[in-house]
């Protein structure tokens, strides 16, 4: 499967999951956005050796994945993009920092290994929570939340347009590279002689399409904003969710739950 096909499939999955009839999907986007940001800050603010606290914070995505009936596999696939850089940064920690921190099942845990595992756990959890937001909130909802936190209209409109036209352009890019590979079998990528003409003609078509899009939008009464992106009222259940999740995440951040549970047995 090519990168473009993969991206198109991911887009389709996100579109489908975010428009499902689930209670998490029905929550106000701003509330979900705030909870996600709070969770992300809670995770990345954990100390570099605080593996157990980070693992404790895994309860939030686990709980929501189950409640929203989301596939862990779809989310974990996304780690392939993030984990390499995280690993490159963290891989030297066990080599450069060999101070023993603890004994576990006869194995000496060094502080370097601990910091590397913490870093990786943080990487996984932050990706999962961002996926949770994207998979339970339609793009329109994300745009609503962005407008409600006063992100300029111009950026929100542009973001929405990018999402709307992305599948079109990805499809075009796939057709173009497929047509090229059929005429140049066995060749990896596009040859240097075709770089300019291939991408340049795609760009010119895009520019022409942009002016057509604008004319069509004007004919439909576009005045700089999408009417579908408007502020929605925050209901009592949204506030309850915000309070419950906020308190839960704060509790997991402040109280070393896993250490306490483990302490009973060790």
């Amino acid at each position: 499967m090519s990168r473009i096909t993969g991206a198109l499939r991911e887009m389709q999955t996100i579109e489908e999951t975010s428009s499902r009839d689930q209670w998490v999907n029905a929550l106000h986007p701003l509330v979900k956005f705030c909870v996600t940001i709070f969770y992300l800050v809670s995770v990345i603010s954990c100390g570099r050796y605080d593996l157990t606290r980070v693992l404790g914070l895994a309860l939030y995505p686990f709980f929501l994945f189950e409640m929203a009936e989301l596939s862990f596999r779809d989310a974990l696939v996304r780690l392939r993009i993030v984990l390499p850089l995280v690993c490159i940064v963290g891989i030297f920690n066990p080599i450069l920092d060999r101070q023993p921190a603890a004994e576990f099942l006869g194995f000496t845990l060094t502080t370097g290994l601990l910091s590397m595992l913490t870093l990786m756990a943080k990487g996984v959890l932050t990706v999962l929570s961002s996926y949770l937001l994207a998979a339970t909130t339609p793009v329109k909802g994300i745009c609503t939340a962005m407008r409600m936190v006063h992100i300029p209209r111009m950026i929100v409109t542009e973001f929405m347009l990018i999402w709307r036209y992305l599948s079109l352009f990805l499809g075009e890019a796939e057709k173009t590279s497929q047509a090229y590979s059929l005429r140049a079998p066995g060749q990896k990528g596009i040859a240097i002689s075709s770089w300019g003409s291939l991408l340049g003609s795609m760009l010119l078509r895009s520019m022409d399409r942009a002016s057509e899009v604008y004319e069509a939008m004007c004919l439909r009464g576009f005045t700089g904003d999408f009417p579908s992106v408007r502020e929605e009222k925050i209901h009592r259940r949204d506030m309850t969710y915000l309070a419950a999740m906020g308190a839960g995440i704060l509790f997991l951040r402040l109280v070393p739950v896993l250490s306490l549970i483990g302490g009973i047995f060790v």
Binding site: V82, A101, T157, F159, I162, L199, L204, F265, V266
Partner: protein, 329 residues
């Protein structure tokens, strides 16, 4: 070069959000001043184009590998630096939200590292001055390669700086720089050549689409070299000033000196007030505590924590299995 959330601490992420927001605010203002209502759809469509173009692999001659376009300089050369910067924000936001390419909290860092340098430094300090006297294919090639190499080097260096300031790696600063800069030199060169090929094609086919060639714009509408340098200097001072507020969280020269002279980097305190304050601080402290390293609490809580994690993991698995069974019924 997309940074994940795990690579930054809140202080660095917040500072970079502030810096990127300031640049976005200026860009929104400048695009509004242009008063071109067709610009927003063009920004959206061009953003989608760059995203799609990034997916196409280009063969690097003489090697077995391939590279791809990043797009900051390309967008700026077509839309101008301000609209180009806003388009890149849209692309980076889409990538981080829907493709997990870069983190939501690290978005400020990613905007700065990839969009700011590509659009402002690349377009205003390299592309625009070089094209002022009129464009030619040689000039386009030189500006594209120089712009891409320089801005990618700056972006890679910022990644090193942000990661090191976040204190999440044991890798020494020098070694990290040596690992990041050469690889991005090669990437910048390929990106520059692809950008040049595309822009030369546009120059041949429809030169009127290129921004800043031939000095057709009024000087007062642009950011001059002097003003840009003042802005960059101000931005650098702001970042350094704000970041210095959090410098105490990182190992510094004083701590090092104390450890050498007194054998400890922590001053001993005593008394009820001290203990109460320490208790509150250790409970509420939201920034990573680097003094945690090698301490008794690290060793003590790790084992019990891992046992706890195992127990909770099994419990979660059982709960999930029960929930699924209930749903099936």
């Amino acid at each position: 070069m997309h940074m994940a959330d795990a690579l930054v601490i809140p202080a660095v992420a917040g500072t970079m959000y502030l810096a990127s927001s300031a640049a976005a605010g200026v860009s929104v203002h400048k695009v509004k001043l242009e008063n071109d209502p067709g610009k927003i759809p063009a920004m959206g469509v061009m953003g989608a184009f760059v995203f799609a173009a990034q997916m196409i692999n280009f063969t690097i001659p003489g090697t077995g590998s391939s590279g791809h376009l990043c797009g900051g300089l390309l967008l700026s050369a077509i839309l101008g630096p301000y609209a180009g910067f806003l388009s890149m924000i849209g692309v980076l936001l889409t990538q981080c939200l829907f493709f997990a390419d870069g983190g939501l909290l690290a978005l400020g860092c990613n905007i700065w590292n990839m969009a700011f340098y590509g659009c402002f430094v690349g377009a205003l300090l390299i592309w625009e001055p070089m094209m002022r006297g009129g464009a030619s294919k040689k000039k386009i090639l030189a500006a594209s390669v120089l712009g891409s190499v320089l801005t990618l080097q700056m972006g890679a260096f910022s990644v090193v700086l942000e990661t090191t300031l976040s204190g999440i790696t044991e890798l020494p600063f020098g070694a990290f720089v040596m690992a990041m800069q050469p690889i991005h030199l090669a990437i910048g060169l390929v990106e520059g050549l692809i950008t040049a090929a595309v822009l030369c094609f546009i120059y041949d086919a429809r030169p009127e689409l290129l921004w800043g060639i031939g000095g057709e714009e009024k000087a007062e509408g642009r950011l001059t070299l002097g003003r840009t340098l003042v802005l960059l200097g101000g931005g650098a001072a702001l970042i350094a000033g704000v970041l210095s507020l959090f410098a105490s969280a990182l190992p510094d020269g004083l701590e090092w000196a104390m450890e050498r002279t007194a054998g400890t980097s922590e001053l001993a305190g005593s008394g009820a007030v001290y203990e109460a304050a320490e208790g509150i601080q250790s409970t509420l402290s939201f920034l990573p505590d680097y003094a945690f390293k090698g301490s008794e609490s690290a060793a003590g809580t790790t084992v019990s924590g891992l046992v706890g994690a195992l127990i909770v993991g099994v419990l979660c698995f059982l709960i999930a299995a029960a929930l699924r069974r209930r749903r099936r019924v």
